[in-house]
């Protein structure tokens, strides 16, 4: 299937979703017009129930005292929907003089179980769907909030929106996420820069030793190269052979504990670790270049260094660039563990919000979505880069 075909199908799906989204409330509204002739009522003894259509009900005015309850104001209201809070209260949405409002009816106060059942039964008969509400959630008595809770989907959506508001918008919590994202990116870029420098040094040293070591005259140069090669072999083995988490904790609490900047320690840790991987990427890149290239360069009269610089390096970089970009993407996700070293990065920002709002879903999902979007965008860019490089090959 062509790309355009895929795009069309995606657009079609999006349009369908939009139409459904618009239709659901509309359908619910027309449905409710037939069935919402239910009335919420609180009788003189303080018992609450919902009764059938056209009945007159008493409107619970919360400001009334126990004594004055007998004198409830009689007002005709239209019941729109009922729902239950987890504490057991029934929330009844009413329309009164064109205004939408809601009252809470405490089920604990409903002493007569028959009457409580009535409330539920009547509501169900009317085609209303009771919806469980979340613990600790606060519902706003606000006329602007549309109280048509006629379907589970709608309730879910409203909860989601409220959750989103509470966790992301309220108190500018998104700023926390933004700050976290900034730190994540700074750490990733810093670590990769360190990693590339270390990686190139290791890769060049090791491949020079690998290809020329045997031919070298014994001497200081050979000894130095052999020692460096050995050291770098140990380096890559250690950094690739232990978990990043352990390395980070060791760096933070043992090796670099004198440095008070958690972020700096994290950048160094990730950089050292990434260096071991980037070294292998570059080494593979160098070894993948046909040895005829070096010979051709040398046969013209270029020195080893010149050949490396003008002939080998450009080809290596071209070969290695997509892999390096993928290392960058991996690193973005890997830096999430910097939270354990006390860095306010994206994951920790999400966790912080969890602590403030006591909700798990929205902060964690938000963090996950941010990572995903960044990774997807970068992956797409890497794809474009790869295609570009391939094109210049074929040119």
């Amino acid at each position: 299937m062509s790309i355009i075909g895929k795009k069309r199908i995606l657009a079609l799906l999006a349009a369908l979703l939009l139409i459904c989204g618009a239709l659901v409330p509309a359908i619910a509204e027309t449905g409710s017009a037939e069935t919402d002739k239910l009335y919420a009522a609180i009788d003189e003894s303080g018992y609450a129930y919902v009764t059938a259509a056209e009945a007159t009900i008493f409107y619970a005015d919360e400001s009334l005292t126990e004594e004055s309850r007998c004198g409830f104001l009689r007002k005709k209201v239209t019941l729109l929907a009922t729902s239950y809070t987890a504490e057991g209260a029934v929330q009844v949405w009413l329309k009164q003089g064109g205004e939408v409002t809601s009252v809470y009816i405490d089920r604990a106060a409903v002493k007569n179980p028959q009457k409580e059942t009535n409330i539920v039964n009547q509501a169900e008969k009317a085609g209303l769907v009771p919806v469980e509400m979340e613990v600790g959630s606060v519902y706003v008595h606000d006329a602007s909030v549309k109280p048509l809770v006629n379907s589970a989907f709608q309730q879910w959506f409203i909860n989601l929106a409220e959750d989103f508001y509470k966790n992301i918008i309220e108190y500018d919590r998104w700023l926390l996420l933004l700050q976290g994202l900034g730190n994540t990116m700074v750490m990733t870029v810093g670590a990769l820069m360190i990693g590339v420098v270390i990686g190139i040094i290791i890769a060049v040293t090791r491949s020079v030793w690998e290809t020329n070591g045997a031919k070298m005259q014994p001497g200081v140069g050979k000894f130095l190269l052999r020692t460096l090669d050995g050291f770098f072999t140990v380096y890559t083995t250690v950094f690739r052979g232990t978990p990043m988490m352990v390395q980070l904790l060791l760096m933070t609490f043992v090796i670099l504990k004198g440095i008070p900047y958690a972020m700096l320690v994290a950048i160094i840790s990730f950089g050292l670790n990434s260096g071991a991987y980037v070294a292998e990427i570059f080494r593979g890149g160098i070894l993948s270049i046909d040895k005829g290239q070096m010979e051709a360069g040398r046969s013209i009269g270029l020195t080893y260094a010149q050949t490396m610089w003008y002939i080998i390096a450009p080809q290596v970089i071209k070969n290695v660039l997509p892999t390096l970009a993928n290392e960058f993407i991996t690193l973005i996700k890997e830096t999430s563990i910097a939270a354990y070293a006390g860095v306010m990065e994206l994951t920790m920002a999400g966790n912080r919000i969890r602590g403030q709002t006591f909700s798990d879903f929205m902060p964690l999902i938000a963090v996950a979505v941010i990572y995903l979007v960044i990774v997807m965008v970068l992956t797409k860019l890497v794809g474009i880069l790869e295609r570009r490089l391939r094109q210049s090959d074929a040119r």
């Binding site: 005829g292 013209i300 010149q306 090959d393």
Partner: protein, 261 residues
Amino acid sequence: MMQDKTMTGEAVLSAQKKNPLISVRDLKKSFGDLHVLRGVDQDITTGEKVVLLGPSGSGKTTMLRCLNLLEQPTGGQVFFEGEDITAPGCNINKVRQRMGMVFQQFNLFPHLSIMKNITLGPMKLKGMDKDEAEAKAIELLKRVGLQEKANAFPRQLSGGQQQRIAIVRALAMDPKVMLFDEPTSALDPEMVGEVLTVMTDLAKEGMTMVVVTHEIGFARSVADHVIFMDGGYIVEQGKPEAVLDNPQQPRTQDFLRKVLK
């Protein structure tokens, strides 16, 4: 390259025998226990065209690669223009600027355009400016009939075209000698001719050439001197008509019988 006069006359050659361009003395090369060259002596004079023949593993390619030290000999000496290039103090990079080499696999630089492949050496090593180097490259490209490929990349070219470009790249450095390492072995049969034509033209212009090849026809028509190698030794050498048409050694006879069949 581009000598003032062609140097094919007997007199010129014999005069230069005393002062060879390249001298090889007791050249030895071994890879571990494998002795590829077991002591080779040879003089190559300016303008001479030498063809190295031999079965695979005979040491002919190693011999050629020892001439510009792409292989480091394990014994013996190589003199170029009187200088011992195997001596420890010798700047081999300077020496290689005067020795062009053409490889079996062309080894063009795939990330550079044809023009940049050719001008890289002159610009980085001879201090030529871009215009000068490019003018020279165009002139050389015209000679091999590929001037319209200047801005192409190696991968867009056929094998024969790539090898002609590789020859031009070597010539751009104005070498004193051109070393060819089986230049037509990696080519499709229909492309061998175009490369051999360029090489023959080069020979006619008086270039000193050392060629490792299996093209007996080329050896017969172009070579001044044919060397047959086997087992790390020079088995037989002489004028092409002598070595190719009337070989004295059984190994030479055997090889030629197989090749010419």
